[in-house]
Symmetry: C2
Amino acid sequence: MKPTIKEVAKKAAVSIATVSRALSNSGLVAEATRDRIRQIAEEIHYTPNVSARSLSTNRTDTIVLVLPDLFGEFFSEVIRGADQRAQQHNYHLLVSSSHNNKGDIESALHSMRGRVDGIVIMSPNIDAHTLESSLPKSLPVVLLNCSVDGERCDSINIDDSQGAYQVVRHLISHGHRRIAIIKGTPNNLDAEERLLGYRKAVSEGGGDISEELEVDGNFTELSGQEAVTKILGLNPRPTAIFASNDSMAIGAISALRKNGIQVPTEMAIAGFDDIPVAEYLRPSLTTARIAISELGAMAVETLVNAVKERNAHTKKQLVLQANLVVRESCGCSD
Amino acid sequence: MKPTIKEVAKKAAVSIATVSRALSNSGLVAEATRDRIRQIAEEIHYTPNVSARSLSTNRTDTIVLVLPDLFGEFFSEVIRGADQRAQQHNYHLLVSSSHNNKGDIESALHSMRGRVDGIVIMSPNIDAHTLESSLPKSLPVVLLNCSVDGERCDSINIDDSQGAYQVVRHLISHGHRRIAIIKGTPNNLDAEERLLGYRKAVSEGGGDISEELEVDGNFTELSGQEAVTKILGLNPRPTAIFASNDSMAIGAISALRKNGIQVPTEMAIAGFDDIPVAEYLRPSLTTARIAISELGAMAVETLVNAVKERNAHTKKQLVLQANLVVRESCGCSD
DNA sequence: CTGAAAGCGCTTACAG
DNA sequence: CTGAAAGCGCTTACAG
């Protein structure tokens, strides 16, 4: 079976305490002893038992990333950034999707107790109370796009309203006055904030504000496609669409093309997120860029710091900017 | 601090053995006792210490998915399927990217010892020897798209050559005789197999076989874009392009459009994978469909079974079919 | 610089 | 049905 510290100790003719110290670089061990122990450990392929170590040290060197979903490039970018940063810090990364479901979040968080040193949770559904009550005390937590305020956790939020404002403002400045929005998932923090940014830009710019211009969506390509049907039924027809994320913009463009409507000449479109594929579409997508993988990396960085500080540090509230990227789909690439 | 089994035992006035049995459903415990213990555990928010349990049981209820990379929709779909199935079986999912790097794979596999009950590894780089030697004995392993043969592990492979064959055959049957291929990453198993399928279809169909038609790529959008430059320089110019995956097809279409070349009328294109976004592109992408999330789910299913069988089962070699999906980009949607 | 021993918090034969 | 006790494999004060 798997060799244990005892075998190493026996072969090296030392105590297990010395083996432990030699292998973990802690405590003073005579160089010769240490080298001998290391070599023997190598020879018999010894690796310390992780559970035993964790039980002693009360650390797991593992963190978890709880995401609402794992569908699409947005989340894969978050994971990529998180994985990379976790590896840099020698942490293992557990991932878990909560399906935006209260029960799933609670059971996920519950089952993580003792399994991880800290938690990054992205839970944009507006349901602050539930989330707050199911968060473990005593364990470092970083909140990503959560509507929970309070100084108990570090948090990172995207400046959604500002990003949406910039995008719509850009459309306005190029003459559009009747701009539809495809909204994100209902009760979703990012969706709400982007809607507010849209409204602010439209009203400031003297554009049409009306409920019929605010069409339902749920952040998927399919919902973007479906929204277009409604938008094309409006009278007068809007001249531009702001999709609350890139996936819906992709779906929308697809549907417009199917209907024989040229983008951007007959209908301008812009999205939000700047997922990697956005620049490779034709027309390439005008959008509000957020550094998605950086978001994942920042979250992990913040969490690792919290773990090192034993959660006794002053909690930070970070905001990640979203920046307008003008490409072809809005028809005003100047 | 976190309550332990002792506190529960004390409050319930029983031994810790009884608490353990009551909470794990194992062993007979009087119903009344069990209910009382459960209630107390609930009250004081007791959760068993995972490390202690693992140390005793020698199980971790965790599996790991080692991927070459985390970039793009392909891998995110694999993770999604794996996560879903792992949750169904009450396993936790660790993810790790190896960057297709020998050292990273070894250290990843090494650091997993004792941390997981089993490993799913996708390592399409052709480097069977290294991989085989760094695989842990005694731990269940499922190989995804690896060129390792042998009956020591379960394995799942995509039928790449057959999929590529179908796609190219389709192009041939619609009159194309000069078809370029954008190859995948060098020394990558899937890339090689797709190339073989391409060659077989072209030669059977009486198309042009030549080295200049086989252009380098590395599975990224950018490389697809770059490949187009070379392809457009060929004389005579090919009438169709088979990109070895969808991401490169997206990059290729982007570059063709930039060059003012209409897809599919002036140049037909097909990809491989059927990533979710493929059907929402305009033109929508003709491709070889593989059930990507299903691949991740199958891998986990197979692994969980191996864990339950204590790895003493007969190992299976599974092959996942790829099926032609005809859409707009090849110009022959009939 | 090294060792003996306690302790981390569980599970599970073994008795009764 | 329940308890006492051994044992899982480490780490880490405490001595020396």
